[in-house]
């Protein structure tokens, strides 16, 4: 089934076109992005149940972007009608007047050209199997409750099994002088987190699920919950890691975190504009083992960051960032591409219509290799299997790594010993880690359960992943 368009946006489109006409009378370049997004979150735990609209993902509004003699301004608003058009024109003008006041205090302004746009008319919609709205709130909550109860039954040491899911169904219209684009997209994710305690100590384990689609994603959760519960209990026996550099195997989630946090942020080309990314100097050079090919793009995979066009009206790309170890190119929003003289890659994304567009990752991953996970474990004399990525922080300027992982399973003489260590911090220098990759498994897995921030804000949905990889990593 295809996702239906927003009735509101379809009804509003003629007014948006009228607004576009009026704005084009005054400005060199005008674009309007209209969004109507419905998102719902469901959550159950032992003593709490919740259904709510997701405040960050549920929104309906508009952003106008204009160029006035090379300088750009934006106006975000959420009330439109024919009668309101003059008010909106005044709001657009306010953005540029504010710019005058800053300039009056001694600042210069960046001046840009007007983007060259091929005439394009496009309508696209993603597909789903089970519409969460049709499935119904009661059926979704019942499913989550079943999963929770099955998890809690595993051990008396479990203090909770938190099971949640959410979906976003959105429509966007992008209008400019030469573009008339529409897209209708839905993704859905699931999550379970089990908590086990012994005295004061609490350990947790989590697992995520995601798809570009609907409630079909929930099916697998019930099968996995007992394992999720057992690992949380197992973590109560975990030891502290002795800091050092080890041979490691990363599961696809940890690989994804490394791809995304350690390298992906560094190839966001708005960072090239600011001279904040070391990667700019390494285009055309080896930055990783020849085994490594990395891709990013809304058209690279079918996951939660898949769309047809970005928030600046650039069609989705499938960008090869690293090709057999050589850094080929970065990913870019439209404005950065104009400064750098490059092609935009469809990575201009906004947290919502209320926020600025930045260069953002989408579906980011390493391609697979030709080993098996078992061969990789067998190849290690002493090291760790790293599982359950928890968080990471980017450092595009210096390529430092900070990734947190929940579990390191000890490997000795090619076998898992059963000893586990937690929590684990991965540190080091990105090219050292990427160049040390010596084996990669065949199967690639992507996870789109999380959100990505730019620094500490601007959250957008992303997916990342890859195969199991073997690398030399500093652990703490």
């Amino acid at each position: 089934m295809k996702v239906n368009p927003s009735v509101f946006l379809m009804k509003t489109k003629p007014v948006l076109k009228l607004l576009l006409e009026k704005l084009l009378e005054q400005y060199d370049y005008v674009s309007i992005l209209a969004t109507d997004s419905q998102a719902k979150s469901y959550s159950v735990s032992r003593r709490n149940v919740r259904i709510s609209q997701d405040g960050m993902l549920t929104n309906r509004g508009f952003v106008v972007k204009v160029s006035d003699g090379g300088r750009y301004g934006e106006y975000s608003f959420n009330h439109i009608s024919e009668e309101k058009i003059n008010e909106i024109l005044a709001g657009v003008s306010r953005a540029l007047v504010a710019s005058n006041q800053v300039v009056a205090h001694g600042m210069c302004e960046n001046r840009y050209s007007v983007p060259v746009e091929e005439p394009t008319v496009f309508v696209g919609a993603t597909e789903y199997e089970v519409d969460p709205v049709e499935m119904g709130d009661d059926a979704i909550l019942d499913h989550l409750r079943r999963v929770m109860e099955r998890g809690l039954a595993v051990s008396e040491q479990l203090i909770d099994c938190h099971v949640a899911c959410n979906y976003q169904k959105y429509s966007k219209i992008f209008l400019s002088k030469n573009k008339d684009l529409e897209q209708h997209v839905m993704w859905m994710t699931g999550m379970m987190a089990t908590l086990a305690s012994r005295g004061q100590e609490i350990k947790d384990y989590h697992k995520g699920y995601s798809n570009l689609g609907g409630a079909e994603v929930l099916r697998k959760m019930e099968e996995d919950v007992e394992e999720c519960a057992r690992v949380a209990v197992e973590l109560l026996e975990s030891e502290s890691m002795v800091p050092g550099e080890y041979d490691c195997i990363c599961d696809p989630g940890v690989t994804g975190m490394i791809v995304h946090e350690a390298f992906g942020h560094g190839v966001e080309m708005d960072m090239f504009v600011k001279k904040r990314a070391l990667a700019e100097e390494y285009v055309g050079r080896y930055v990783a083992s020849p085994l490594v090919t990395m891709r990013d793009g809304a058209a690279s995979a079918c996951e939660t960051a898949t769309y047809f066009f970005d928030d600046e009206g650039t069609m989705a790309h499938d960008t090869v960032v690293i090709d057999n170890g050589i850094l080929k190119q970065g990913i870019s929003d439209l404005q950065s591409a104009m400064i750098l003289g490059t092609e935009p890659t469809g990575n201009g994304r906004r947290e919502s219509y209320k926020r600025k567009a930045y260069t953002r990752m989408t579906n980011t991953f390493f391609e697979g290799g030709n080993s098996t996970k078992e061969e990789m474990i067998a190849s290690i004399q002493y090291g760790f299997l790293l599982e359950n990525a928890s968080s990471g922080m980017e450092d595009p300027k210096n390529w430092g790594i900070q990734c947190m992982v929940n579990i390191a399973r000890e490997i000795k003489d090619g076998k898992l010993t059963g000893r586990i260590f937690s929590p684990i911090v991965l540190t080091g220098y990105v090219p050292d880690l990427l160049k040390s990759i010596s084996m990669m498994s065949e199967t690639v897995e992507l996870g789109g359960g999380g959100f990505c921030g730019k620094g500490y804000k601007e959250w957008v949905k992303v997916s990342d992943g890859g195969p199991y990889i073997k690398a030399r990593i500093r652990l703490g």
């Binding site: 709510s52 009330h79 205090h105 450092d395 911090v425």
Partner: protein
């Protein structure tokens, strides 16, 4: 619009509800070096309506809640349909029954902030000047910056008499400082003020420039091992967030935390001998919580003993305690030891992490070191790289707080703390 929403609520026969509306105007500027790259204006009004439904299941009285976002310009039929849908959903999301917070109609509270006395554009120009005033050097400079000047009007009303509205002003943002010699490095900084703190921003940028210059000198990572570490600045709030989080009524009710009022939560009474006793105040920044609960300053911890379980209305009723609303700011009394005295002997003073994190469940804290000063008791060298991996449960008995104060919008307290015996994964 609120009248329309109330009418739709009546038509849908919904007896219990909250309406939270937020009107936002902002001016935003984005800079690359000293060049203005983009200016934005935002003008939105958002209405979040939460509806409640009482029902009985398996002999238990339950109250379910769900919500609906209502947009300006929505027609009555659309509003009613959204509310009916939310009310239907609330019938499946039942928790143990409770009463909504009961309040009264209050006068609109105008902001008394200095920011309210000027336009958002004037605030923007003023803070831009403050941020770039000391940006005069070739080798260390403001790489990029973002400034947001924001006015908001909040209106909260519910079916139990709450009807309050107030205005807030804020100016916030972030900036990156770059130093290109002897090596090219950068540091990230953020700010958030409710007053036109021009001089504070100016001073912060000045310190950030100096700190980034030091970072450019740092080349090696500390050796792996156990250190007497000093944390300072932004990290202080993250460190203390463990106690704030674990004393939240949601954590306590769900039994994720065993905290109880009167409990010695900073280690045991006998053990806190060598270190300072911790007192934390929850500071009210807004006049009301999002449920309309009047906010006031409260003591959370007093000499390491828990005095308040804090949080919203629902969990407070379950626990039989007073609802306090949610706090985003704390105050901690400073210690007696000057920072310079803390630096006697060997230490590792970490002034910047890539992302310092605290795990509220386990008490583990850590992060990758961006800049630290390593002293062997005689020589001090800047270091970078490696990571800290500690546990608040292991260090809380011997924490020593500095005499110097550090303040931002979320924290006011000692500038630094000494933590003994913390593991560092280094070179």
């Amino acid at each position: 619009m609120i009248k329309q929403i109330l009418k739709a609520i009546e038509r849908a026969n919904i007896a219990q509800y909250y309406i939270n509306s937020t009107e936002t105007q902002s001016i935003e500027s984005f800079f690359v070096r000293q060049r203005l790259d983009l200016t934005r204006a935002v003008d939105t009004t958002e209405y979040m309506v939460t509806v409640y439904r009482s029902y009985e299941k398996d002999g238990r009285n339950l109250l379910g809640a769900s919500d609906a976002q209502i947009y300006p310009g929505m027609e009555m039929e659309e509003i009613e349909a959204a509310l009916r849908s939310a009310y239907h959903a609330a019938g499946f999301a039942g928790n143990q029954s409770y009463e909504l917070y009961a309040g009264t109609k209050e006068e609109y509270i105008h902001s008394t902030s200095g920011l309210a006395k000027q336009s958002l554009e004037e605030t923007m120009a003023q803070m831009t000047e403050a941020l770039f005033r000391v940006d005069t050097k070739e080798d260390v400079f403001v790489n990029s910056a973002e400034i947001f000047a924001i006015r908001q009007v909040h209106h909260i009303l519910n079916s139990c008499g709450v009807d309050i509205s107030y205005e807030t002003y804020q100016v916030k943002g972030e900036y990156v400082i770059q130093c290109i010699a002897p090596q090219d490095v950068e540091t990230y900084h953020s700010f958030s003020y409710r007053e036109p703190e021009v001089e504070a921003l100016h001073r912060d940028v000045e310190e950030a420039l100096a700190m980034t210059q030091a970072r450019a000198q740092a080349k090696q990572a500390p050796q792996a091992g156990e250190y007497r570490i000093i944390l300072s600045g932004e990290q202080m709030n993250t460190l203390f967030s463990y106690y704030v989080s674990r004393s939240g009524s949601g954590m306590v009710y769900q039994q994720y935390s065993n905290y109880q009022v009167g409990m010695q939560v900073q280690g045991s009474t006998e053990n806190v001998k060598e270190g300072d006793r911790l007192t934390i105040w929850l500071k009210a920044k807004d006049p009301f919580s999002s449920e309309g609960i009047p906010m006031k300053d409260r003591v959370l911890l007093e000499d390491g003993v828990l005095r308040t379980i804090h949080g919203g209305n629902r969990f407070a009723q379950y626990l039989g305690i007073e609802p306090t609303g949610f706090y985003g700011s704390i105050q901690v009394p400073v210690g007696e030891k000057p920072l310079e005295e803390m630096k006697q002997g060997a230490y590792l003073h970490i002034v910047s992490f890539s992302d310092f994190q605290m795990d509220d469940f386990t008490g583990h804290f850590g992060g990758e070191i961006r800049l630290a000063f390593l002293s062997d008791g005689e020589r001090v060298i800047p270091v970078t790289g490696g990571s800290v991996n500690g546990s608040i449960l292991e260090v809380q008995d011997r924490m020593v707080f500095s005499k110097e104060r550090y303040t931002n919008s979320r924290y006011d307290g000692p500038m630094a703390v000494v933590l003994e015996g913390v593991q560092v994964a280094g070179a």
